[in-house]
């Protein structure tokens, strides 16, 4: 898969000068009118800018919408090319596109779209503040379109839910020779495991008990291994089932080195059943079972560090990830998948819950990013051979308040409670650094029988997205 390029837009750098549009019109339509441009910068009521332009999607809806095969993604360049000879001017592509990236040019009499000017986009050259940037995309965005989405359309997640994002990208990458087990929680709640005779998943899917995801997958995987068949056993579990009532069976399977890819989507509580507290709920957080009242002010204990507990099992691979850092997540997913062929692979993905954490659904990625930038969430990975290492620097975090202020579940926090959280984060950072240092100083870890040294996991270090 070649690395494709895209034109990225940094709204915070845009001053609305409009020179990009004029440059485009000149280059593509021999006109000075911004109306003939193939991109448009728009200001909203608050004075912020948005860009409408072709994203050269990996999974292009315009191509799928076109009844005449006039649109196709060029496998070499990644550019979606429009063929005038085939186009029947039906405009269905303009309906299919979510980004207004293809539109009717009335003067030309047909649809037009960005072709990246053959690798030297005129708009980018014209943009002095650097709001437009021509850059190489992370692999996930290039690859996604060539891999089948193995969940059905129309899963009924809450608006803005990132769990669906994680699920779809994960299963695309893991592929069809997979059995998915999704214990009770948001994943089944949105319809992935099926309902009344229908299924939400194109691969075999099972809705295990909240308590037994890991062992049922272990039994299944062992049988396929005996039969000489390559089948990935994939768990898509929540933090409650994994850290609380299912922890014993998770721990047992990890200790035995069962060859499972166990992915935990951590939304810090039992969100599917109505936002109750789990052991992964942070200190101070409001939930429906840690309510805020005269006598209590949210959860009075710190969150359990489940991924670090999994390191204690010396799993073949353990990593944390965040939906705000998808390229990092995707790299770790690769490593976890590889590790699951020889041992227990554990991937812990933080996924903010718009419904349960009380914030606007459009802010989900922003919230996830602030969690990482403030060190509320730490990104790291572990293998028995290489030990634990941070995959994103924890130095120079943004103030915790920038994260907390975004969330309704922390609205009631007193200064003392905020201080407690800050102290907890400092301890967390120190603990992870100690782990990382200790692992770095230790002699090469010996390996357990049945677990490979995870040598197959070598590759470029997971860099920050």
């Amino acid at each position: 898969m070649p690395a494709y390029n895209t034109i990225a837009f940094h709204a915070d750098r845009c001053d609305g000068c409009g020179k990009c549009m004029i440059a485009c019109a000149q280059a593509k339509s021999a006109s000075d009118s911004p109306r003939r441009a193939r991109l448009e910068v728009l200001a909203d009521d608050a004075g912020r800018f948005e860009l409408t332009m072709c994203r050269q999607c990996a999974d292009p809806e315009c191509v799928q919408s076109c009844p005449a095969a006039a649109l196709a993604k060029n496998a070499a360049t990644g550019v979606i090319e429009w063929d005038h000879d085939k186009c029947i001017d039906c405009l269905l592509c303009t309906v299919g596109c979510s980004f207004a990236g293809i539109a009717l040019d009335e003067a030309a009499g047909h649809v037009v779209k960005c072709d990246q000017c053959g690798g030297d986009p005129a708009c980018v050259r014209a943009c002095k503040p650097g709001a437009l940037e021509y850059l190489t995309m992370a692999r996930i965005y290039d690859e996604a379109g060539s891999l089948e989405d193995l969940f059905v359309q129309g899963l009924s997640a809450c608006q803005g839910c990132n769990t669906e994002l994680i699920m779809r990208h994960t299963l695309r990458r893991v592929g069809p020779d997979t059995v998915v087990a999704a214990p009770p929680g948001c994943v089944p709640g949105m319809g992935a495991v099926g309902y009344n005779g229908l299924t939400g998943t194109k691969v075999p899917v099972f809705h295990p008990l909240l308590t037994n995801t890991a062992p049922m997958l272990a039994g299944l995987k062992r049988v396929y291994k005996r039969k000489g068949r390559q089948v990935t056993a994939l768990a898509l579990a929540g933090d409650g089932g994994a850290a609380d009532v299912g922890f014993q069976s998770l721990s047992g399977a990890a200790e035995r080195g069962e060859e499972i890819l166990f992915l935990v989507i951590d939304n810090e509580g039992y969100m599917n059943t109505g936002m109750q507290r789990s052991s992964c709920t942070p200190y101070g957080a409001w939930t429906t079972t840690t309510p805020v009242g005269r006598e209590s002010h949210g959860k009075s204990q710190d969150a359990k560090n489940l991924p670090l507990l999994m390191v204690g099992h010396r799993c073949a691979y353990v990593a944390t990830a965040s939906t705000a850092f998808m390229a990092d997540f995707y790299l770790k997913l690769d490593r976890a998948l590889q590790a699951s062929k020889t041992g227990f692979a554990y991937l812990h993905v933080y996924s903010p819950c718009t419904t349960g954490w009380r914030f606007p659904s459009k802010k989900n990625i922003e919230v996830a990013r602030k969690a990482v930038e403030s060190n509320f969430v730490l990104l790291w990975e572990y293998t028995p051979a290489a030990g634990l290492r941070l995959t994103r620097s924890v130095d120079d975090p943004v103030p915790l308040s920038e994260y907390l202020v975004a969330l309704g579940k922390y609205r009631h926090l007193t200064p003392e409670q905020v201080a407690h959280l800050e102290q907890h984060i400092a301890e967390n950072v120190a603990a992870i650094k100690r782990h990382a240092l200790a692992e770095a100083a230790a002699p090469p870890a010996s390996t357990r029988p049945g677990i490979s040294s995870a040598g197959a996991l070598q590759g470029p270090p997971a860099s920050q997205a």
């Binding site: 069809p176 194109k202 049922m216 299944l220 049988v223 005996r226 039969k227 200790e255």
Partner: protein, 408 residues
């Protein structure tokens, strides 16, 4: 494959019930065994672990971290097509209850020995049927064994019943903790060829599979306030009941075929012992039957018209056979090794009385409870039962349960 000592099939040997069950599992060529130790079952899975370690049984072994995971491992394995086995007792069965309750609905033909043990509290590690009786409504087939030989034969028969396509249900082979688990007896081992012919290849997941080659959602959410959901749910439930009912014939047929192959003729549902011209009878379950038969023999020798009915298949309950065996008697007593707390009697007693409802004549009956917490049920106990039952005349309302080991 390195040459290994074959199982001593087709031979006579002396062993206890736990080893007999393990030998049966090996002869059934099970693909997956998941284990967790608990008294009085532990030696059973130790035998299996050793068979696998020695290469005498080519199976996966999962040393799980608890019984809940043991049965969960078997569910996953069965959904991938494996023939599976485990064994448990008392508190282990209680801990396993969540996946246990789910197994019959998924129609997974898992076979599990319950090496029966009395339940807590008081804290107790000795035999009694309370564990198996406590799960009697969960939907598993349950057969109780009388002898070590019957443990071996029934464990093999269980796979044939479980995997019969119009049954597809999990089976418990129950054998008494202490008395059968550790009691050593002479047994005959069947030939491996005979077992292979009897069972055929595993036929486990034709109906519900987690297999990328035939993708499906296994056990999706089913139900809702109206419409197709609840109707689908009802269809599953009725199908499960029908499979359970058909198990009666399947158990009968399997025993008949086993007798043809091995010459060993165990009564499949109930055994009628010296019931010709009997006026009264003892109804028994499990290993107590041996002592009860001796007591019946003595009473017969003394000219008393007394017989015995042993219930082997407890789930599904062979109501027609039981009613047919007992309906013409003057009186009978049912001896239970467990308690039905709601009715203050033995659970088998309640089942038997229920089976007799609707008949034209109802015999006078009495519930006896004995052998709890590992206590021996002796010939003397059954002499007392025969004495009491022989003196019973008119139906005079509910009779107080007789506790055979009470020291009053």
């Amino acid at each position: 494959m390195a040459a290994v000592a074959p199982l001593p099939s087709g031979r006579v040997l002396a062993c206890d019930g736990n080893e007999a069950a393990a030998l049966a599992v090996a002869l059934a060529r099970v693909d997956m065994v998941a284990v967790y130790p608990i008294t009085p079952q532990s030696s059973l899975v130790e035998y299996l672990a050793k068979f696998i370690a020695d290469g005498r049984l080519q199976a996966e072994l999962v040393d799980a971290e608890g019984e809940h995971s043991v049965l969960s491992v078997l569910q996953g394995a069965a959904l991938a097509g494996a023939r599976t086995f485990t064994a448990t007792s008392g508190p282990g069965l209680a801990f396993m209850f969540e996946p246990y309750l789910r197994t019959p609905g998924m129609r997974l033909p898992i076979v599990m020995s319950i090496v029966t043990r009395d339940t807590l509290t008081p804290q107790c590690v000795w035999g009694g049927h309370q564990d198996a009786m406590s799960v009697r409504e969960a939907g598993w087939v349950q057969m109780y064994c009388e002898t070590v030989q019957e443990v071996l034969d029934t464990t093999i028969i269980a796979y044939r019943v479980a995997e019969q396509r119009d049954v597809m249900l999990p089976v418990n082979v129950c054998h008494d903790g202490n008395y059968l688990s550790y009691g050593t007896a002479r047994i005959e081992l069947p030939e491996q060829d005979a077992v292979d012919t009897f069972l055929g290849a595993p036929d486990v997941n034709w109906h519900a599979a987690l297999d990328p080659d035939r993708p499906m959602a296994v056990d999706p959410l089913t139900g809702g306030p109206a419409g197709a959901g609840p109707a689908t749910f009802v269809r599953y439930r009725r199908g499960q009941c029908a499979g359970m009912h058909r198990a009666l014939d399947a158990i009968r047929d399997a025993h008949r075929e086993w007798a043809r192959l091995t010459g060993r003729n165990h009564a499949p549902l109930i055994e009628r012992y010296r019931m010709e011209d009997a006026e009264c009878a003892i109804v028994t379950l499990g290993s107590m039957t041996g002592a009860a038969k001796d007591a019946v023999d003595e009473a017969r020798a003394a000219g008393r018209r007394v017989g015995l009915v042993k219930v082997k298949t407890f789930r599904p309950f062979p109501a027609t056979d039981v009613a047919d065996a007992l309906c013409k008697l003057r009186s009978f007593g049912v001896v239970d090794r467990s308690v039905d707390f709601a009715w203050n009697c033995g659970p088998l007693y309640r089942e038997v009385v229920t089976a007799l409802q609707g008949g034209t004549r109802t015999a006078t009956s009495q519930s006896f409870i004995g052998g709890l917490a590992g206590a021996d049920l002796t010939v003397e106990h059954f002499q007392r039962v025969i004495e009491t039952v022989g003196q019973m005349r008119e139906v005079a309302g509910p009779r107080d349960t007789v506790w055979l080991d009470a020291q009053e």
